[in-house]
């Protein structure tokens, strides 16, 4: 598998902020690569530098081994986090307009079918629901049959059903061999869709790898969750973490039976106790000390 994209030592400085601090990574062709981090971590700026939309203070971007230029612009599809479309145009006209900007063309009827836009073709852009609009924006990102697609927070604001439908769409695009660069702060989304992730915080990449590998390397235990109000005493030397905003205490455990026995006298009851596998959110919390959704 060859490298589709390579970012080398990207730096973006604003007058009072270092938004991107020496970020380097590469993305293999055909995978879904997730760039994760809380709002303000620098992931959107990093991706926009790669897309050529925001100039970097320093650093280089390579597309299939060449400096990203006109070929990249022709072969990349981009869905921004907040994209306004031209007012008063229908879905069909919007797709046709964007397609006319490229020499490389997707089969529009197939694309319309794939993004479930058949019934919306004559509808004004402004009259689309959140999910319909996201599907149109995805279709716009695919009108040039791109080799690489950038999706920036594509499911933000969607209801759970619309999110899952959107995930199915992304999986189908990936199955066609298209490389996907996904930025998100939804850990479940990254876990479901991404082959590889990089977690960003304060403009830097703090870790990188496949979600499974990262979790396996970091954790050999499960997490026991208890409501804070169920605690009756001090947990003493039991390793734990209190999440005040969520009103819970988390206890890492490599032996649930032993942990429950130790907890026995310190809790009011175990009816509301949960046991779960560590996830990417836990990983982020451990690596950075603050929540992804902060």
């Amino acid at each position: 598998m060859q490298t589709a994209l390579e970012a080398r030592n990207l730096v973006k400085k604003y007058p009072a902020v270092l938004a991107v601090d020496d970020v380097s990574f590469d993305v293999a062709e055909g995978i879904c690569f997730g760039l994760l981090g809380p709002n303000g971590a620098g992931k959107t700026t990093t991706v926009e530098i790669i897309e050529g939309v925001t100039p970097a203070t320093s650093g280089e971007v390579y597309y299939f081994g060449e400096p990203a230029g006109s070929r990249f612009r022709e072969e990349a599809g981009i869905q921004f986090q907040n994209t306004a479309l031209q007012d008063f145009l229908t879905v069909r006209e919007t797709l046709e307009m964007f397609q006319s900007l490229y020499n490389r063309q997707a089969d529009l009827s197939h694309l319309i079918e794939e993004c479930f836009l058949e019934d919306l073709l004559d509808r004004d852009n402004r009259k689309l629901s959140g999910g319909q609009r996201q599907r149109l924006l995805l279709a716009v990102a695919l009108v040039n049959n791109p080799r690489v697609v950038f999706l920036d927070e594509p499911t933000t604001g969607l209801d759970p059903q619309a999110r899952r439908n959107f995930w199915d769409l992304i999986k189908r695009i990936r199955a066609d061999g298209t490389t996907i660069i996904l930025t998100t702060h939804y850990m479940d989304e990254a876990q479901v869709l991404c082959d590889e992730i990089a977690i960003m915080d304060d403009g830097r990449i703090v870790t990188r790898g496949s979600p499974e590998d990262l979790l396996r390397q970091r954790y050999r235990n499960v997490i026991i969750e208890l409501p804070l109000q169920d605690l009756t005493g001090d947990l003493g030397n039991i390793e734990h973490r209190i999440l005040q905003t969520q009103g819970i205490v988390e206890i890492a455990s490599d032996n649930v039976s032993d942990s429950l026995r130790l907890l026995g006298s310190q809790v009011r009851g175990l009816n509301r106790l949960k046991i779960r596998q560590p996830n990417l959110e836990d990983l982020f919390l451990d690596l950075t000390g603050h929540s992804l959704r902060a």
Binding site: E51, T54, T83, F88, E96, L101
Partner: protein
Amino acid sequence: MLKRVYAIFRARNLEFMRDRSSLSWNIVLPVGLMFGLSFIFGGGDRPEYTVGVLQSAEEIDTSAHPYLKTRYIQFVAVDDEAEGFRKISRHQLDLLLQLEPALRYWVNPDSPKGYFAEITLLQSAGTRQLRKEQISGDAVRYVDWVLPGILGMNMMFSCLFGVGYVVVRYRKNGFLKRLRATPLRAIEFVIAQVASRLMLIMAVTVFVYLGTRYFLHTRMDGSHVTLLIVAAAGAITLISMGLLVAARVTSEELAGGLLNITTWPMMMLSGVWFSLEAADDWVQQTANIFPLTHVLGAARAVMLDGATLVDIAPQLLILATMSAIFLIVGAVIFRWHPR
């Protein structure tokens, strides 16, 4: 390149045609302008001169003196001598006539129309042998002179605000940023915007021009094709100027301020409402930096003096140069997104 330009051009036209508020404003304003002009300057057999007759009665008895039967002079009754003198001094009356007890008249020596009204009076009175006045035909009515100014002013506002605001809105809402992520280049976007607005403004200008020709019989001594070329050159220059003003601005408030700063000096100094021939030299030199000055100069030369393309070549060359500079600088400094 042409495919991309056409795509943006078509999309902008569709957006404009479907935006009813914007469309109606762009149609209603010029139509209102046309009917306003017709109302102010129209009236078919509107008299060329206004002569006051000192009398207390409101009705003018045309049998009282042969002069009162003169065509193209409007006679109005004036019952207050002082008011009549004031109007003469302010050129609101061309001549004030007293029939009783003795035939007397007052005229302002600085008033050209008063001069001719006087000659007509003396001729009709038969007291002096004078030549018949030669004022028919060559007189340029104010409406003939001001029409290019009003069309040019409408063109200026439509080009500068119509393009400037749209580009700033596109930038502010992120549509330009989305276009930036495609192979579309700044110059292609700019050309598409020029073409779209040019089509609109030419249609509106031709419509208003034909309306005033029909209703006001405005003067046209030159070629309509030449006039069309002047209008197109002017529109391209003004649209390019609007794009330049909006090339980097991200706030609609700032854009509004900049566009006002750009348009108002042209409105005052480019000869829209009055001629600058009597103005100081520095004012005339300053006016030459504005494209509208050259548009109006060329349009008036064609319409009032029958100038040919060769005659107005200097103005067209200036407009072409300005357009090229505005477009190139605008494309070079063009900013796709707000930050």
